[in-house]
Amino acid sequence: MTEHTDTDIDSSPPTAVHGATPNGEELADDVAKVLETRDMDVFYGDFRAVADVSIGFRFNEISALIGPSGCGKSTVLRSLNRMNDLIPSARVTGEVHYHGANIYAEGVDPVEVRRRIGMVFQKPNPFPKSIFDNVAWGVKINGFKGSKAELADHVEATLRQAALWDEVKDKLSDSGLSLSGGQQQRLCIARAIATQPDVVLMDEPCSALDPIATLRIEELMLELKKDYSIVIVTHNMQQAARVSDRTAFFNVQLDEKGQRTGRMIEFTPTDVLFTNPEQQETEDYITGRFG
């Protein structure tokens, strides 16, 4: 769609770009990962919010991050597309590899990172613009060179992919804010995928929605994973159990300085995590025996 020469991110498989990794032993298995953190710490000023996260997300899977408030799951999510750059005191150490390339390496354009790794937020936040423009906007600022008709085709295809087309096709010039909450969230998903990323990050995308709207988003996620890899943060464990292929459990731990730091406890196939988790800490949390 658009040509970018100011970045060294390559979308070919990792092995074609990077051979041996500096920490090759970190790779627990040989399956290719679309996105992978290595010994990642995230700081807010001097405060280490998250420590030692090494987690690899596979292609075309839905990965869920669960855990109590303050466990760092949203911080981890925001680090995956450099959204934390927007917080002045935030600092990430370690590496985050996207198709094998470190997105925190020098010379990488964070805007390009966010185009390839899209994000959907907790509260539906459409722009106060028309439904059409909400989807077309990201495409246009990324230098779309096609005709008006081609842009309209792209918007339609995107809205179809977001399972929203049939509901909005007759009112594309209405404000995005005129839609229901669930429709607004699907519009935000359409906006996120309009720039053709291959990873979509979702931060509690259903927490403001009723069960019916939630179900539609979940169905959409299952549809989208054919084309995208999805990482979702959710407080709703049933949601993680319903939609995800793999689930990571994060918990708050006191570090050596007595600070509360988020750590990843385990990352396993979702069916295993919810029937027979490896770690007692995970079991205690998911069965509600915490505190």
């Binding site: 049933q238 027979n276 079991e283 998911i286 069965t287 915490f290 505190g291």
Partner: protein
Amino acid sequence: MTGTTPEHEEIRHHFEDQLDAIRRGAVHLGSLVLENTKRAGDALVHNRLDQVAEIVRADDAVNELYEELETLSFEVLARQQPVARDLRFLVAITRILYEIERSGDLAVNCAKALQRMEGVTLPPEVTGALERLVHASASLFAGGVDALADMDETAGARLDREDDLVDELCGAFYTRIGAQSEILGLPVAIDLSRVGRYLERIADHAVNIAENITYVVTGDWPHEIDVALEPRNE
């Protein structure tokens, strides 16, 4: 660390109380069936026709408690949406309840077979083999109920081995019946064979109960075969 509230504690305690009530109820159900199995075995060995009615009647209480516990298990499954060990427990307990209830029916079947054989005096060799089988089967069933009461994950593999003895004693019982078939007559020989089968099945149910407990506690089956998938020929 994760901000529990007194309300949360209360709801969790209620959940744990419910799980414990189901487990204790299942142990009680198991002890009722164990008692009736022993009574039926004793009636067969000592030709106590007068016990039959009581054995049949006692099964009503078993069925009633079974339904009550099954309903409670489903309710907890629906309302608490359990995961991990809680989920394994609730799924396993519905199977265990079934295993116990079926065993109760088999004890009744033994009593009914005795009724059909009314007035027949069994040769001592047959009675002796029957008595050994009754004893082994009841003992294995007691082991299954103990496994449930103690949540003993080691019982599954142990009872599976002990079940081999029950199978042997059942085979020996069949041999005795065969050797005495002319004296017994065909209808009695058939009824006795069925009694052997019932007692052998009660022991199998006990093994299944204990294996389910192993699964609840460890998340794995004692041997890699899923007992739920083994054919049930009753």
